[in-house]
């Protein structure tokens, strides 16, 4: 039976590795300026983790095979180097590996979260509420009008609770159901949660951040490829969570200008 366990474990290990090595299920193509750092980090980690995974499982399998059903004359043996060797190996190899990866991964993290949006980034506000995302553009005056929570009304489509009559900044604000951005332009995404926690996740952008009610959070990114990408909610927010999504449309600058004009005319 032990030999069967060993063989099965080895087969499971190889079978598990195949989809990774064959790149069957991989993240979608990166469309951001910072994403390659994350992707590199992920492949480095996958390589190291993969080696450790395969080595550990196969060695376990090998030892199960070798040291079961021993003959009466065989003596108990120690692993060469004993515990001391293994502990040292663990500290040195794992210690340096994990710390190195941790250290090198800080750059990707810093790019996304520790650097502020640049001064000429384009601000867009996104509001997450049960169970949809809505977006707001500041319009020609470049200013967002204030949100009045008591005026938020889904039925009358006053999503952001704007008081267009009394707040001059709100007059030219453009509210949309999909997010349009020009390619290669840094976007400063201002995040606002209406009711409970939500999250903003675009796989291709390698971008994810929770919306926290009561906190003014933001993200910044630059999209590098034209296309239509899903924005999905990844923070459990209620029964409609599975269906809470919007679309990010990355367009050329002229196309974006047309789109924004059309949206403005529909306000």
């Amino acid at each position: 039976m032990a030999k069967l366990v060993a063989v099965t474990l080895a087969l499971i290990t190889i079978a598990s590795a195949v989809p990774i090595l064959a790149h069957i299920w991989v993240p979608p193509a990166d469309i951001s300026t910072h994403g390659h750092l994350i992707d590199e980090q992920m492949s480095d980690t996958m390589a190291e983790a993969g080696i450790c995974f395969i080595a550990a499982q196969l060695i376990l399998a090998a030892f199960i095979w070798m040291f079961s059903n021993r003959k009466p004359g065989d003596k108990i043996k120690n692993f060469p180097g004993g515990a001391k060797g293994l502990v040292t190996a663990a500290f040195l190899l794992v210690g340096t590996e994990v710390l190195a990866l941790g250290f090198f991964g800080t750059r990707a993290w810093a790019d996304v979260f520790l650097t502020p949006a640049s001064a000429n980034s384009m601000p867009v506000q996104v509001q997450a509420g049960q169970f949809a995302f809505y977006f707001r553009y500041p319009g020609p005056d470049g200013k967002f009008g204030p949100i009045h929570p008591d005026k938020i009304n889904e039925a009358s489509q006053n999503i952001f609770g704007l008081d267009v009559d009394n707040d001059p900044d709100s007059k030219d604000d453009i509210v949309t159901a999909e997010m349009g951005v020009p390619m290669n332009k840094e976007i400063h995404l201002l995040m606002h949660a209406k009711d409970v926690g939500h999250s903003f996740y675009v796989r291709e952008l390698r971008m994810q951040q929770d919306f926290v009610p009561g906190l003014d959070l933001s993200l910044h990114f630059t999209a590098t490829k034209v296309g239509r990408y899903e924005i999905v909610c990844t923070q459990l927010c209620g029964l409609g969570h599975y269906n809470m999504k919007a679309y990010l449309n990355v367009m050329s600058q002229p196309d974006y200008d047309d789109w924004l004009k059309k949206q403005a005319s529909m306000q």
Partner: protein
Amino acid sequence: MHDVSAHLAHHTPPQGFIRKYIFSVDHKVIGKQYYGLGLFAVVIGMVLSWLMRIHLVWPNFAIPGLKWISSAGAPGGIITPEYYLQLMTMHGTLMVFFVLTNVPFAGFGNYFLPIQIGADDMAFPRFNMMSFWVTFVGFCVLFAAFFVGDGPPLSGWTAYAPLSAIPGTGPGQAMGQTLWAISIATFCIGQLLGSLNFITTTLDFRTKGMTLMRMPLCTWAWFITSCIGLLAFAVLLPACILLILDRVAGTSFFIPSNLVVSDQLVNHSGGSPLLWQHLFWFFGHPEVYIAILPAVGIVSHILVNSYRRPLLSHKAVIYCLMAIGFLSFMVWGHHMFVSGMNPFSALVFSFPTLVITIPFTILTLIWIGSLYGSNLQINSASLFALGFISMLVTGGISGFFLAQPSIDIYLHGTYFVVGHFHMVMGVAAIFGMFAGTYFWASKMFGRMMNETLGKIHFWGTFVGTYCIFMPFHYLGLVGNVRRYSAFVDDYLAPLIPVHKFISIAALFTGAVQLIFLYNLTYSRFKGAPAPVNPWNGTSLEWTVPSPPPWDNFGGRHPVVYHDPYQYGIEGSSGDYVMQDSPEQIQTVREDKDLI
């Protein structure tokens, strides 16, 4: 006046059915009660997982009987989106609290810790009894949530505010969520009473010769787990109290201003949703080590027995357990990398999270390294113990990805996370429970479990759980979001065939568990009578009858002479020496460990 033993009243055996089996102060009965409660909870939890997996891939399949349990949640037997989340919440809550904390820790620990240290009971037998019944009340309150109002909460076992703090945010978020919070708060109290007993008994009630370093590794694991539990549950309790106050008393600990739910302004202000997350995860991370450490200890204990030789370093394992216990309190923020907390703190939390890889690696290397040159014996217990090593390697390695904030940007909230924690908690820890059951059932019930059925159970579960949970990681890599009740959009729909494979594997593996349940139940009554030491073990539980008498050692006081793992010794009459035997021992091992 002298220090009379506190247990004068305890020195007569209990009389009557109620005192012997219901309200018993005997740690062995309490251990079995915890085990039984955990078994009941795991069956419900597993059925919930079947319902979830069926709904994900066959959403229009009418599940027979479900509409009688909830006509609103499953009209005509078809699960609604909210009911999926409600089932998911109960699945997580039952499994993490009432299975993974109950069985390996409170169940086996209560039963075997006193025996393994040579005591005749826990330090505070009545508190011990209370700890079980308080836990039981907590379970009943939670179970009641299925049948009240609009059902159980849907906010997940993590119950993030404001979703969990405002009753109007969804079905089940009113009465169901309140019952959940009361249940968990009650559970905390039960666990605190239990930890009190474990710690005091370990420190004060060891028999003659039983120094701390001479305790078996599972005893060490239970001891360290109880220290973690004492500090962790003492933080979850305040969190639940504050949540209950927000829900029913109008306070705003977690609920910020200007929230609009269903077009109505919420009448709370100023609170911090992140505060809930910090409090919850300060408990929540140590909790997952509470779930895994007892299994680590039990598996180590069983592996030594199966290898017929001691581990390469007894002390290294103990120090690793301590290191894990200590580090477990420093890493909670890794659940919150993208939560909106200060991004600099993500780097701070990431560091100890990566460092905790080291003690786990040392443990794995010692387990595998000690297998080298050993005399491996195969039985159901050792199969699950070996399987545990494999599962912990897999689960631990996937954690390595998530520990890095930059990678977590992409993988957070995806099935990768679900695969990781199921591998370590839903598989590895469960394997530890199975290993412990096959190893100790004979001692607990006086009858041997059927080995053939045990091996079939192992094969089905080992292959089955890999088939279920390995694909979760692939789904995560593609960006399959978690906690979705359906995959309806263009991006996720092509992944449904993978989900179908998983669901079928889950149903198959679930069916295999019936073999275990049958084996456990049948052998309880009809199994072969168990000898005192069926596995040729060396620790003190193998010196008492199967099952032990009410005072464990029948009035005698065991004396131990050396560490508990004197296996593989040349020159002794067998290949092992009992811990309470003064027979020739290895002179080198005793004081100078290999480290």
